[in-house]
Subunit: 469 residues, 2 copies
């Protein structure tokens, strides 16, 4: 056993340094099959002080450290790149809800708190922590913060960044920076909090946070809407948001190509619309006042009836109970089942200015058909926030062809003022794109900040920032 | 004429380099009488390219540059400290609204655009840019961004930071960094945008921005509410926000000491409540749907009637028309007239965790009475966001006594987890406090970032960051 491992054990106890292959297995495997790492050890601190001592030790020894939350990311950001001899620092034991203040709408949590546990703690006080996406049962808030996670409610509540009031961070050399503010106004110098949010563990380890809560909706009104043209969807969103006084929480787009495959993915469900329309929208409104409890569903019904008469919408179904609502969401959230039916896909996670999304789709469909004959697009979009998960089935899985097609898609995104990473981040997966497409001055500034905060480059090396060429 | 001035003239034209005393006068004077600067010249670029060339020139010559918007700040952040031979770079000629996209709710503006002009452009499209405070007719968005300005609507819409999607920044050496995103999701590296927002011009010059717009309320419901105890106000806010489905836009607190002085400040207005209650709240709700047009006022009336019966509120008046609404706001916004009646005040701008605000007030009133016998507190608070403008009339105006009393107040703020600068920033005024009270690790990190981005220390030197000791 190395002196370094012995020193780690002295900090956290022998039970919390995992160095055997079997014990490390689940940490060295990400959610995605393509990433298989090899760490020298996994260390499981129980407190900020232990994190501080671990980083101080690693910094002196120049041992790379990979911070890990729930290990549910989609870009390989927590993979221990083989040969770097890195340690994985998991915050899984630092999973407490520290305090909830119902009147002030804030909750203080440790970085390892599981997203669903935070949501449950808020709901017990009739409040809501509105961050929500598929991995919510196992992802941890530290990872959500480190990647600035998005999801389906960003339209109304923003990304993780927008839901965070304060942070505690351990820097690369072990110094603890206390930014645990509960304040809504705090103009005392540079915004360091937002620098660490979204930094993917390359600048330090987030150990605790203060999060904002919102009133828990008393009821939801949820509908599936059929339209002919996706170009008309943004107008529909604005109309419904106006009519409801800003109650739209989600506005999700499913094209015909996706809905056509739903029956085989979900054989027990009948199609919502027959024939399947070009555009299906899932809209959800949240009533936060008792007065709106029955109103929103009624409003949605009346509004959609009117829109059908005007010809802006071709058909619509409003959920009449919780099980119908759940079924609508099941259709939307069965993306893996739907996409998995025809084999492997090439995946992207792009964002567009809201009004450019239809143009992106038509260009991407046309240009990928030309660049990759026989490929078929499959996608859904968080239309309310401009985020499209645009994928392609391809026969050809050699990496060079994939890279070429990703280039085609990202060229269109660039041309339309979009982003090549909307909500998943950079990690390992998008490093080449980052090198090619990020504003070069911004990249230089990022590198300068990285050098300043982590001079020994021990924090999650090889992620987020491409090497200088 | 120096070579340096000649070079500036070559960039912007002779008409736009002001070096005479008279021409510089209004730029060398801030809004506050205590700050009187002396620049070597004021330069007025018309484009980002000109800003870039000016900074490149100044960086090479190591001439300090002070970026200036509307020069309406309250901390001396735009003062040209005498003897530094600085130039003031005003963005006043870069004042265009570049584009508005009504469907996507975004507006692109140059940094010199006046806040009220942005608000008017939004309103013409039935939208609202919700940043609002006293200086809105002359402040410029570049300054609002550089100071992360707050105001009365932060409760619902957030600070300037929360309303900004994208930025263009010229760095100290003249490099232009393009972060002009219109996107709601964009996870491509460190959050550099928020690093420049609130940096008070010490890291670069903001030259353009993309801002978020929101639906323009169709009607407001506004009321003055009398209560016995400020401790009950947060519960009232939560009740009204729930009943209205999140429509509360402002929740302002005026204590008896303030209202007692209103008749002499505004002799034409009758007191709202007689006798004057311990606590007067100004609440405003915004209706963003047609359905709520008449409802909100009615709801407020019914709710307040119920709260009076329950004894949670002692009296209330709901505005019945726009002129009554305007009168209510006039009472709230006459702080300078009210505070000016008894002579000079010592002023602070602090923020507290929401539930701690009443405790702060009682402790501050007691401890300042003891520390400064004969002093009298005068304050109002943005109660919904925890921001108190706590001032004191004092007979004694020697700086040492002032500093001692500010210490007393800030000790209480510290003790309760608050901030010594809520919305005004640091500038020159709060440098000593910054040195004493900011988390020391955070200060070190800030200094590292400053060195990295501005190695010649030309950007607004001597502001925001205290000298290392």
């Amino acid at each position: 056993m190395s002196d370094f491992i012995a020193s780690l054990e002295a900090i956290v106890g022998v039970d919390h340094v995992l160095s055997g292959d079997a014990a490390r297995e689940k940490y060295d495997h990400g959610w995605l099959p393509q990433y298989k790492g090899r760490s020298q050890a996994v260390v499981r601190p129980a407190s900020t002080d232990e994190v501080s001592r671990i980083l101080s030790l690693a910094n002196t020894a120049k041992v790379p450290v990979i911070p890990m939350g729930g290990n549910t990311g989609l870009t390989g950001a927590t993979m221990a790149v083989p040969d770097l001899n890195a340690i994985i620092l998991t915050v899984e034991r630092m999973n407490r809800i520290l305090e909830i203040k119902p009147q002030s709408h804030v909750i203080r949590v440790e970085a390892g708190a599981i997203l669903d546990d935070i949501r449950a703690a808020a709901e017990a006080e009739d409040l809501c922590f509105p961050l929500v996406f598929g991995a919510r049962g196992s992802c941890r808030i530290g990872g959500n913060l480190a990647t600035n996670a998005g999801g389906s409610n960003v339209l109304k509540y923003g990304n993780t960044r927008d839901l965070c009031l304060g942070l505690e961070v351990v820097l690369a050399d072990g110094r603890v920076m206390n930014l645990m503010s509960e304040l809504h106004k705090d103009n005392t110098g540079y915004d360091l909090k937002n620098l660490f949010i979204g930094a993917e563990g390359t600048l330090g380890v987030i150990t605790a946070a203060v999060l904002k809560l919102v009133p828990l909706p008393v009821e939801y009104a949820t509908a599936m809407i059929a339209m002919d043209h996706v170009e008309d969807a943004l107008g529909l969103l604005n109309t419904l948001d106006r009519l409801s006084g800003g109650a739209v929480e989600a506005f999700e787009f499913m094209p015909k190509s996706y809905c056509d495959l739903l029956p085989s993915a979900l054989p027990n469900l009948q199609p919502v619309f027959d024939p399947v329309p070009e555009v299906t929208i899932l809209v959800e409104l949240g009533a936060t006042s008792e007065r709106d409890r029955r109103f929103l569903t009624e409003m949605l019904e009346n509004a959609l009836m009117g829109l059908i008469q005007e010809g802006r919408v071709t058909d619509a179904v409003v959920a009449q109970n919780e099980s119908q609502r759940a079924e609508m969401w099941l259709r939307r959230e069965s993306t893996f089942e739907v996409a998995g039916q025809k084999g492997r896909t090439l995946d992207t996670d792009v964002a567009l200015p809201l009004e450019k999304l239809p143009l992106f789709l038509s260009r991407a469909n046309a240009e990928t058909a030309q660049a990759a004959p026989g490929s078929e697009p499959i996608y859904i979009a968080h239309l309310g926030d401009g985020n499209v998960h645009y994928s392609l089935w391809m026969d050809n899985h050699d990496p060079a062809s994939h890279d070429r097609i990703v280039e085609v898609i990202e060229d269109i995104v660039d041309d339309l003022g979009g982003s090549f990473s909307a909500e998943h981040g950079i990690g390992l997966m998008k490093l080449p794109t980052m090198a090619r497409r990020k504003d070069p001055v911004a990249l230089e500034v990022m590198r300068g900040i990285k050098r300043q905060l982590d001079p020994n480059a021990i924090m999650n090396p090889g992620k987020l920032l491409p090497d200088e060429t």
